[in-house]
């Protein structure tokens, strides 16, 4: 025996709660929608040519994106070489050696860097690496992406190192190991899984970045040799092809999008599964 008002309140309750469910489902469905569309539109265009051929001249159909794939690979490799050591070693400093004051300054700088829009990072890299040498280059792009990898690597290294149990640390030192030996042989290996994950996630993030490459690596219709030439990359190719008026380029953009997204998602899922078997993720 419910009175009318209670009945109404219960109805509202059930309705609103159902609506929140709808919100959640819609949000998640977007992901599957994206994947689906990419698979549908891009799946058919992925063939051997895509990975091995260079782009054809404007207006001609066919060709591939081999230069962009190689370019992305080169730049990501160098970005890791730049960003990971700084983040990793800096993180070791924060976790193992620094005092409170210095630590908060470094952390603040890292957080600030993390929040900088990627296009502004591109401007910075341009001012530092393109302007003085007067040409676009792969290492300018790598510099931009490398900087973006630093904050995630730094914070995660620090958190994971800190989370290594004291016992391990003290055990090693009690055996006479010096500070740095303890760090290198006991603490870092213990935190290895988490740090690896963080690096992978940082990599996945920069792999998809386009804006910072627009005026650093710029782009190239051909292969680029060495590191000081403008270099084609997958994300920039996608952008260029997508906004062009050619249907064939649109088709290739979808294919490239599929490859890029596939790469990014696989790295992400890999990183998260590695992590979930180990330590909990620290909040950033």
């Amino acid at each position: 025996m419910m009175d009318g008002r209670l009945r109404w309140r219960k109805f509202v309750s059930n309705f609103m709660l159902a609506m929140t469910g709808v919100c959640a489902i819609v949000s998640v469905l977007v992901l599957f929608f994206i994947l689906g569309y990419l698979l549908f539109n891009g799946g058919t265009s992925i063939n051997w040519d895509f990975f091995t051929k260079l782009p054809k001249p404007v207006g001609e159909t066919g060709g591939g994106m081999s230069n962009a794939i190689v370019g992305s690979g080169k730049i990501l490799l160098m970005a890791s070489i730049i960003g990971v050591p700084i983040g990793f070693l800096g993180g070791i400093y924060l976790a193992e050696f620094s005092g409170k004051g210095v630590a908060s300054v470094v952390r603040y700088a890292a957080d600030l860097l993390n929040g900088v829009p990627s296009i502004v990072i591109g401007i910075f890299a341009y001012s530092l690496v393109v302007l003085p040498f007067k040409h676009f280059s792969a290492y300018a792009g790598a510099f931009a992406l490398g900087i973006m990898m630093i904050p995630i690597t730094l914070r995660s290294t620090e958190e994971f190192l800190k989370s290594v149990p004291r016992m391990l640390r003290e055990g090693a030192m009690a055996l006479g190991a010096s500070r740095w030996k303890t760090i290198a042989t006991v603490i870092v290996p213990a935190a290895y899984r988490g740090i690896m994950t963080a690096i992978l996630l940082a990599l996945a993030r920069v792999a998809g970045e386009t804006a910072p490459l627009l005026f650093t690596a710029f782009g190239n219709r051909f292969e680029s040799h060495g590191w000081s030439q403008p270099t084609a990359t997958l994300p920039v190719m996608i952008y260029t092809y997508a906004v062009s008026p050619y249907d064939d380029w649109h088709r290739q953009a979808w294919a490239a999008g599929l490859v890029l997204l596939g790469l990014v998602l696989i790295i992400n899922i890999l990183a998260r599964t590695i992590l979930s078997r180990g330590i909990a993720v620290p909040r950033s």
Binding site: M2, R5, L6, R9, K10
Partner: protein
């Protein structure tokens, strides 16, 4: 006692009371709530075993026992608060004014059976809005200001806050916050008020204030209280049930239980030999 005002309660409750005198007392009193053969489970684990007892109308009933005996769990069955945990399951019957609460709408039930929690938990709103919350959602048509004042007076808090009703509830001290929570619960005019160790997070002075309050409040509403403080139970309650590992060992009028307990385990507990 008019037979019509006294709901039927099962014989079990009376026979749980272990002296002839107490059985008579119990038989003569109207029971607001009766619990029959209650078994309660969290998932596969059974917490309460075959509980039968009554909560006497306009009296204070205390549930005592060592940690983990199930007294809080038992209290929380009375307003079906256990339902917020997915794996809980209940068998048996709980009646409020003769009607099975398990067959009623839970939202309506909870308005009638209120609860005060172990730690004061005022909402992040003003003092006024905290007390007015219950009446508002239930569509109270009268003057909210009057209801708020009335409830705060009943909770012995009015004089301390009457000029600060629009301040945040978090500016009050712990003891005041708990009295605010009592006022908030009273504002919806519940038939039964459940109190789950209401003083355990408070200092002795606040505790004393709230104990005084309880004696007054029972004229307004029936009270069931869980406490780990035996002296408190002895001071404020009319009936006491002693629980051990999920069973009622003894259920008697308070003076009886504390001066002449019938079960050796009860005696061991109240003389401090364990718990």
């Amino acid at each position: 006692m008019q037979a019509s005002a006294k709901p039927e309660f099962s014989v079990n409750i009376v026979t749980n009371m272990t002296t002839p005198a107490s059985r008579e007392t119990a038989a003569a009193l109207p029971m607001r709530m009766t619990i029959s053969k209650l078994n309660f489970f969290y998932g596969p684990k059974q917490i309460l075993f075959d509980i039968s007892m009554g909560i006497a109308d306009k009296k204070v009933t205390a549930l005592i026992g060592p940690s983990g005996c199930g007294k809080s769990t038992l209290l929380r069955t009375l307003n079906r608060m256990y339902e917020t945990v997915g794996t809980s399951r209940l068998e048996g019957e709980i009646l409020l004014d003769g009607q099975n609460i398990l067959a009623q709408d839970v939202t309506a039930l909870r308005r009638r059976v209120g609860m005060v929690f172990q730690r004061p938990n005022p909402f992040p709103k003003s003092i006024f809005d905290n007390v007015a919350y219950g009446p508002r959602i239930n569509g109270y048509k009268g003057s909210l200001a009057d209801t708020v004042e009335k409830s705060l007076r009943h909770a012995a808090l009015w004089d301390e806050v009457k000029d600060h009703l629009h301040k945040s509830a978090y500016e009050l001290s712990g003891g005041q916050q708990q009295r605010l929570c009592i006022a908030r619960a009273l504002a919806v005019e519940p038939e039964v008020l459940l109190m789950d160790e209401p003083c355990s997070a408070l200092d002795p002075i606040s505790t004393a204030k709230i104990e005084e309050l309880m004696v007054e409040l029972k004229n307004l509403t029936t009270i069931a209280i869980v406490t780990h403080n035996m002296q408190q139970a002895a001071r404020v309650s009319d009936f006491t049930a002693f629980l051990l590992t999920g069973q009622i060992i003894e259920f008697s009028p308070t003076p009886h239980l504390f001066t002449t307990p019938s079960d050796p385990r009860t005696e061991a507990y109240i003389t401090g030999r364990f718990g």
